[in-house]
Each structure stands twice: as C-alpha cells, then as structure tokens.
Point group: D2
C-alpha cells in the first residue's frame, strides 16, 4: 500500500535485464558506445523525429533545467504553472542552470489557460529592460496534480507562446501516463502540437535513473552538450543510461507500464467514490488528490498505507484533510482493493 510517489518502487525486470546485458566488454565513455547510439535512434523513431537531438541524463530535475537553460537567456522569463515542479519543488534548478532566469507563475492551478498566460505576458513583459525578456513557456503533462492537457490545449498554448516569442518546453516526468490517457503518439503530444523541447521521463515509470531530453529542431540544442558536461550530467559509463532506455522502449514497455499505473488509479478512484470520498482533481492518469477527515487518514496510515497528506494544518479528528495518492506501475488490483478495504473499515 505504497502511494507516496512513483519514484519509490522498483525497477522493472526488463530494464534491469537490459542493464545486465550491456554489462559486457569495453566501450568508450560519455555516450560514444553502441547502446547510446541505439537508444538515441530508438527515441528518434518513437518521436518520428529523425532530425531531433536527443540526450540522456540520470534525472528529471537536470533534464528540465538544462533544456530550459539552453533555450532561455539569463535575463528571460519562463512562464509556468504556479504548481509547476520546476517552480516549487526543485530548489531553484532552472534559476541555477540558466544563470538567474525568472520563473513566472501564470496561475495558481496546475493547468495553464490561454487567458492566464495572456495576463501574465501583459503584466511581466512591457518590452522594457526593467522587466525580464520573454523566454519560454513550460508545460507539464501529466501535470503535478494528475491532470492531463489535451492535444488541443497544448496546441493552443504552444501557438500563443510562439506568437508571443516564447519557445515551448514540456516537462514529461509522467509523459507516458499522459500519452496512455490521450491515446496519442509521442509525436502528437510534442512537436506536432508545437512543443520545441520535451523531457521523456523514465525514472517514475519503471527505470532506475534515466530521462531523455529531445530537441525537435537540432539548432535549438546548441550548447547543451557543453552545459551537460560542466554540470556533471554526462555520465562516463553512459552505456548504462542507454541500456535502461533501450529496455524501457523495447516492445512498448514504457506505454504498458503507464497504462497499468493509470488503470490501477482508475480502480482506486472508483473505489473511493463508491465510499463517498471526495476526489479533488480530475483523474485521467496515475495521481489523484482527495480529502477525508483526519481520523480516516490516521486509520489508513496506522494500517500501513503510505502517502502524503496535509495534516500539519489540521488538529481535529473530523477536520477535512487533503491527501495525495500516486499509483506506481507495479501495483496490482489486489493492492488497490486492500487499500479500499482498509478505508471501508475506517469509515
């Protein structure tokens, strides 16, 4: 009953196996090896982007921050949701990597609307040097609240961004979960909708530590190889990053695992609703927010359910407390049912 985060589970056996298979013989470091060549080619195929520049890195924070630092100047602004991971959960990674660019929170919610973006653009950028110059729009799909932008929404925001001189970055820590929900291809969710650079996450969906940064226009990637090196994200034994990605892509594992996580989450949502529990977010992917009296949280957690709640602000046993549940690819229907049973007992 572990719902705290999708970074807390194991590595899928197919990914472990790919790493073990790569563990033979000598290869040059820093990505000059056949595993890396294969992984980059596979990603270009998956994204239907034969010209794309593709980079592998061991984590999402650096992948997003390096992507942004490559497309924005230190004196430019990155427009994002007020809940964007890059804004509130990475201790300033984009600011550090970019040399002091500004993250402008466009809205308090997780999903940016055209109206909110329009307001933010008119407040922040007057064309005067006193304000930050325009840099990029950053979207997260699946969002930090578990919602999913539709292709139409991405298209509209990307067009608005481009019309206003912004490039478009996609934080794809849960890229696969959004893809699975939308039933679209990676290309459709990215460059076909106007995304300029995307992070295709592996770590939260069955890998150990690998993400791909994909620049659809290779000219936009200029400087990233040097920035990756000097920040220490060009791993020397690079083949093991590549092996993870190769294992993750083989036979569509990336999508299978995301679908599995989404399905468990749907089962969880149905069960919660059946008990009259209020769900606070849309529930298309593998992550939801709900609320329940504090005593219910107490009871669930006493029974071993692991997840984050906002109990700190609530003293009374009947106070409504928000909780977050994240479904990992590895959960089973039985895991979900066990949690729901404990809930039923607690109510």
């Amino acid at each position: 009953m572990f719902f705290a985060s999708d970074n807390s589970g194991t590595v899928h056996p197919q990914v472990m196996q790919a790493m073990a298979e790569a563990n033979t013989g000598y290869h040059h470091g820093y990505g000059n090896d056949p595993h890396t060549t294969a992984a980059r080619a596979a990603l270009r195929d998956l994204f239907e982007a034969p010209e794309a520049e593709v980079f592998l890195m061991p984590g999402g924070t650096a992948s997003n921050a390096l992507a942004l630092a490559t497309i924005v100047q230190p004196y430019q602004a990155v427009y994002c949701s007020g809940l964007a991971h890059i804004h509130v959960d990475e201790c300033g990674a984009p600011e550090f990597y970019s040399g002091g660019a500004k993250l402008v929170p466009v809205c308090k919610d997780d999903k940016i609307t055209p109206a909110a973006l329009s307001d933010a653009l008119s407040f922040w950028n007057t064309g005067d040097v006193h304000q930050f110059d325009r840099g990029a729009l950053s979207l997260t799909n699946t969002t930090e609240r578990g919602n999913v932008y539709t292709l139409d929404e991405i298209r509209a925001l990307a067009k608005q961004a481009h019309d206003n001189g912004l490039l478009v970055h996609l934080d794809g820590a849960r890229f696969a979960n959004a893809c699975a929900h939308l039933g679209c291809t990676p290309a459709e969710m990215t460059w076909k909708a106007g995304v300029d650079v995307a992070v295709f996450g592996g770590t939260k969906n069955g890998c150990m530590a690998v993400e791909a940064v994909i620049f659809f226009d290779p000219a936009r990637a200029q400087g990233l190889p040097f920035r990756r090196m000097r920040s220490g994200h060009l791993l020397s034994k690079h083949r093991y990053l590549a092996a993870q990605m190769n294992g993750y892509l083989r036979d569509g594992l990336w999508l299978t695992l995301a679908q599995s996580a989404n399905d468990r989450c749907a089962r969880l949502v149905a069960g919660l609703r059946a008990e009259g529990i209020e769900i606070l977010t849309q529930t298309p992917a593998n992550l939801i927010y709900f609320q329940a009296p504090r005593r219910i949280h107490d009871a669930l957690q006493a029974e071993g359910a692991m997840y984050y709640d906002m109990r700190a602000a609530h003293a009374g046993p009947d106070d409504m407390v928000r909780g977050r549940l994240v479904c990992d690819w590895n959960l089973t229907d039985a895991d979900i049912d066990c949690f729901l049973q404990k809930l039923k007992a607690a109510l």
Copy 2:
C-alpha cells in the same frame, strides 16, 4: 586490449548483485531509505569518521564541483595543478557550480610542490579586493598523470594550505588506487593528513555511477544538500546509488579491485621497460604515460590496442609520440601479455 580509460569497462558482478538485491519493495526517494543509511554508515566506518557528512552522487565531476562550491565563495580561488581534471577536463564545472570562482593552476606538472603553491599564493593574493580571495587547495590522488602523493606530501601541503587560509579538497577519482599503493587507510590519506573534504570514487573502479563526497567536519557541508538538489544530483531512486556503494565496500572489494588494476599496470610497466620503451611518469598506480615512435603506435592500434596518444602533432613514422595507458580492474595478466606481445612484434 582496452587501455583508453578506466571508465570504459564493466560493472563488477558484486556491484550488479547489490543493485539487484535492492530492487525489491517500496522505499522513500531521495536517500530516505535503508540502503542509503547503510552506505553512509559504512563510509563513516571506512573513514573512521563517525561525525562526517556523507553524500552519494552519480558522477565525479559534480561531486568535485559541489564539494568545492560548498567550501569556496564565488570570489575565491581554488589552487590546483595545471593538469587537474577540474581545471582542464570538466568544461568549467567548478566555475559553474561555484558561481565563478577562479581555478589557479599552481604548476605545469601534476604534483603540486610547496614552493609552487607558495609562489602562486604570493602572486594571486595580495589581500586586495582586486584579486580573488583565498578559498581552497585541490589535490588529486592518484593524480591525472598516474602519480601518487605520499602521506607526508599531503600533510605538508595541507598544513601550508591551512596556514594560508585555504581548505583542502581531495579529488579521489582514483582514490582506491592511491590507497592501494600507499598501503594506508582512507582516514590516513584524508582527514588524518589534513584533508577537509574528499571524493571517494567508485565509477572508475567497478561501480556503474557512484561517488561519495565526505566532509570530515559536518559544519563544512552546510548548503550542500540544497546545492545537490538544485543541480539535479540528488537522484530520486537513491537506493540504487547506495546499493552500488554497499556492493563496492563489501568485503573490501574497492581495495581488491584497485590492487588488481595496480598490479596489472606494474606488469605492463615491467614489460614495456623490458622492451626499452621509455615510461614518462612514475608508475605507482594504474595509469602511465610512455613514448614510442609513431609507427609503433600505428602497429599496436592496428592490432586492436585502444588508448589515447598525442599523434595529432606528429607526422613522421619515427617521431616520438606520447601515449597513455590506463589499466582497468578487470584486465587479466593475459590481456597485458597480449599487448606486450603485439608491442614486441611491432618493434
């Protein structure tokens, strides 16, 4: 016959096994897991430093740069060898992480002498704000040329550094190879000799991607946790970093592998000398420089020997060209002998 670098070989089975064993169940991310607790404790034991602050990261570039950025200010200087990896091979990682600190090359050779340090200190730091303030001395042991500082040498330089207001950083990409050569303990090569912060390398010596940064005075580590997070080097599935380190430390594997690499290198040196090849460096560890006519290099490499040489500057077949040979922990006596045989044939 792969002598290009010790980052090009495989991961030792014991390390792979430790990762596989850790691949079960759910654990909180970001180092809040029992594998990490165990690894940190084991490192404190190994270094006989129960108070030390210990951090794991996936690479040496970031480990060194983060360690330095934590102990020096942006307006301070880091004194290092003119051949130091941090100065010439990391595309400015220390400058980036520190916010623009200066690397001052103390000497053209790999080993810093007290006289050279003294000269550099008097040239660069006059106590005036026009020059960089004094920050740190950085030593590499094993050095980038394959030499090893003795304990006496480290002690003398560290004392000189401290007397001049510098903290002492040790780049230990090949820490174990130096330890094996000196026959000393990790504590003796670090805090007992005056080192303030050390990087204990794993990647080049049988691990996949893990280094430990160890601050012997925990107060010196202030800020590093935030800096590691914002630079993306706090991996979310942290247990797999820890598992590598646990496998690496178990039963003294770290030292066994380094001794093996050193032994192969000694065999190689003896063989080269027997053929009259000039060795350009001291040869205490697993890395040497030698020189031979260009046609010899041509012949060896045609036979499949992989290593770096400085042939670019030399056109004639009899021009003396320098080459670098690095012995990996995984090489066998047969590998060495095969190389020597090819050499004999080429001469």
Copy 3:
C-alpha cells in the same frame, strides 16, 4: 510639470558643489581617500551605528542586489512584496547577483502583512531540500506604491522574520521620504526596528548617482567588498561618490529635500481631492496613484504634464485610467498649482 519619476530631475547645487570641491589634487582610488572616509563616518553617525560597515555605490539596483547576495545563499529565498522593485523592475538583479536565489512574492499589495508572510513561509519552506531554504525578508520604505511602513509594522515584521530564520533587508530608494513622514531617525527606522542591512538612497533625492549600503552587524558584510569589485561597482574615482554623499548629508539636506517633496505631494493630493479625483493609495510620501477618465489624462498630457498611466488597456474616453504622480524635491508650489489648474480646465 514633470511627475514621471524622481530620477528625472537635476542634482541639488549643494551636491554639485561638493563634487566640485573634491575635484582637486590626487587621491588613491577605490575608496582609499579622505572624502570616502568622511562619508562613511558621517553615515555611521547619522545611523548611530559606530560599528556598521558602510559601502557606497552608484545605483540602487546593485546596492540592493549586492546587499541581498551577501546575506542569502543561492539556494535561499527572499520574501518580498509582489510589487517590490527587486521583483518586478530590475530584470532579475537579485537573481543574478545571488546566483539564482528565489524572490517569493508574499502578497499582491505593496505592504507585507504578518499574515501574508506567515502564509508564504508555510507554503514555501517545509524544511525539505526540494524547496528553497529561508534567506531574507526584503521591505521597501517608502514602498513602490508610495505607502510607508510604520515603525511598529517594521518591528513586527522584522521580529517575525528573525523568528523564522530570515535576515531583514530594507530597500531605501525613498528612505528619506519615509523618514520625513514618520518623523523618526534613520536608526529608528532600521537597526532599532530590526533591520539587518539597509540601502540609504541618494539618487532619487537630489544626488547624481550614489547610494549607501549599511550593514549594522559588520560580520554580515563578509564578502561584499569582493562582490562589489567583481561586479564593477567599486568605482575607481571613488571620491566623487563620497563627495555626493557628503554634500547630501551636510546640514541635513537629505531630510530637507525629502520633506520638500512630501510637502509638494501633499499639496497635490489636497488639490486632486478638491476636484473630486480618486486617490488610490495612502499618500504619506512623494508618490501617489490616482484614477481619472482617459480624456482627462489626454488633456493633462496634451498640456505638458509628464507621468505614467495605464492607458494601454483602455480605449474609451470615459474609461477610468490609473496614473502615477511622483514629486521631485525640486518642484515648487507653483508647479503643483499649475498642474491642478490644467486639471481643473480639463474636468
């Protein structure tokens, strides 16, 4: 009729005179001259702070940014008003100087309240490395909207800041105007109320280009001399910065000029109210916001009144449009009356 900004008028003759008087003989550069010694002593006297560290710089943006960079780490947050100049009008100076610290807008208004600060602190800082560490609270007095924090308000916020591990910075671009309104001493408005570092502005109040940064605890100023040098704000012919400050402090000129600007502003406010014009801000100092139909703005500006308005968003002649009026120390009652007469004619 120039109300666009208090940075647009002339330099007071007494300040010009002081510069001319300093223009004789040779003096060492970079602040090692008797004019600088005198200015620093005079500032320490004015602030009743014999131990304070005092620095002169040619502008407010750098003064604030260097002060902040000295007291916060790159991974820390600066809490400020959502309208703070450092947040919205300096193109990221604090981010640049600090190496990527985060400006957290505490509120949408210009004056921070304890409740808003409390909310921001609980949202942003959970003690976890994913969020920025706590750094500083930045107040502006006179605020960017022309309001003034009372001594009680400063004391309460400073105490709250200190209780939460924040240092307190005061942006004093219009320091003198606030002092004149409060009828307090500089000491009372700063260290006696809990301010750790203050910028005492000269440029907007009769000087040419000089501000003083004052650290009341000299230990907090560590590193600033180097940071000032490397950012180019340690002017070589430093005596002319000092001369300005000496002229500005002589016979209380700084306060006389601020009182004059405040008095003109009060006359302006009274005149506007007499005509039924709505004033949108409190009006204690030399800066107000008002609103009037667009056609009134059109008429005033056609008559030569210079000031900023938000007309861009308003098309109709009767649309209410906000305007900002700033009174310079050099305006006369006749200037104000002339403006009011034009207004009367336009209405």
Copy 4:
C-alpha cells in the same frame, strides 16, 4: 609627484563643465534623454561606425565584463594575456558576468603573439565537450605594462582569432593613449583591424566615471541592454554619464589629454635613462616599469613620490626593486622635473 595610477587625479574642467550644463530641467531616466542621444551619435561619428551599438557605463570592469558576457557563452573560453586586467585585477568580473567562462592566459607577457595564441588554442580546445568551447580573444591596448599593439599586430591577431572561431574584444582603459601613440583613428584601431567590440575608456583620462562599450555589428549586442540593467550598470540619471562623454569628446579633448600624458611620460623616460635607470618596458604611452635599488625607492617615496613598487619581496637596500610609474593627463613638465631632481639627489 603622484604616479600611482591614472585613476587618482581630478576630472578635467571641460568634463565638469559639461556635467554642470546638463544639470538643468527634467529628462527621462535610463538613457532616454538628449544628452545620451548626442553622446551615442558622437561616438558613432568618432568611430566612423554609423550602425554601431553604443552603451555608456560608469566603470571599466563592468564594461569589459558585460561586453564579454554578451559575446561568449558560459561554457566558452576567453583567451587573454596572463597579465590582462580582466584576468588578474578584477576579482573575477568576467567569470561572474559570463556565468563561469574560462579566462585562458595565453602568455606570461602583456602582449599576445600569434604563436602563443596558436599554442593556447591547440592545448585548450580539442573540439570535445570536456574542454571549454572557443569564445573570444581579448586584447588590451594600451597594455597593462604600458606597451602598445601596432595596427598590424591587431590585424594579425584578429584574423587568427576569427579563423579559429573567436570574436575579438578590446579593453580600452587607456584606448586614447594607444591612439595618440599610433597616430591612428579609433576606427583604424578597432573595427578596421578586426575588433568586434571595444571599450573606449574615459575614467583614466579626465572623466569622472564613464566608459563606452561599442559593438560594431549591432547584432552582436543582443542581450546587453538586459544584462546591463540587471547588473545595475544602467544608471537612472543617465544624462550625467552622457554629459561626461560629451565633454570628453568635444574638440578632441580625449586625444589632447592622452597626448599630454604620453608626452609627460616620454620626458620622464628620458630623464630616467639620463640617470642610468633601467626601464623594463617599451615606453610608447603613459605607463612604465623601471627598476632601481630599494634605497632609491625609499628616498623617492620619503620625498613624497607616490607609486607602486614590488618592495615586499626585497629586504636589502641595494636589492633591485621594480616600480611602476603612471602619468596622468594633468601632470606638468615641472612635476616630472621635480621627480627627476629628487631621483638625482637620491642616487
């Protein structure tokens, strides 16, 4: 008898007068005033560069650092003399402004030779991400040792730089002194010889605090306006920077003053040589190095001569000690003769 630096004298009356004349009426801040428009036009005329982008700033350190940060990336190298002011006397300004670019000292002397540049380029840049990418060549004319690059030398180095993918920056703290010596136009010493961005110094040659940064290709200046703002070097009462420059350019004052300083220096050199004193540098401009026994320095300084020497390393009265003499525009023949008389007495 003040020879310590040319930043230690007074401001020329014509420059003071221009500031006084500008001290009337209201003007918009930040360069939107007629004085600035006039100064920029005058500089474009002087440099015969009608398309050039021209910026005024209050000091040389920031002018050079901002110019470099605009033309190099954080992961690029700036090749300069080992004695370059930007390398050894600005506490890391270029590193700070650029976000960690590397200054590569090409030679130990003040003047870069093509051979030395060639060596440095081949050592540092292998095309691999481990090394810094190529960024810029920085020349100083007049050099830090008082020497002057000829037009042929500049042309040859600029061509070599461009052929190797470097842009060319000219630090012109003593631009006018070099121009006076060479008898060339500013255009000949800059863009006609291949310089991409030049700093035209005023502060050391009769101004109070002003330098001009001139990008001959305006497209190269992209981003500088934002960088200048966020670093605090866009002064709000900008008219006074412009007024200085206008006074400095009027009737060729800039060249007259430089010629005067050079002439005094020539008289000084002749006098020293007549007494058998060894001059250590070429002596084309206003700055020389000489050596004499320590007791001579003692005697001169006891008589009131102010200049820097390297006495710290020399104990004995007959030890040869190097000294630096800088001639200010304001020195008279009598000042020089007075110094020479004291010298004669001391010998």
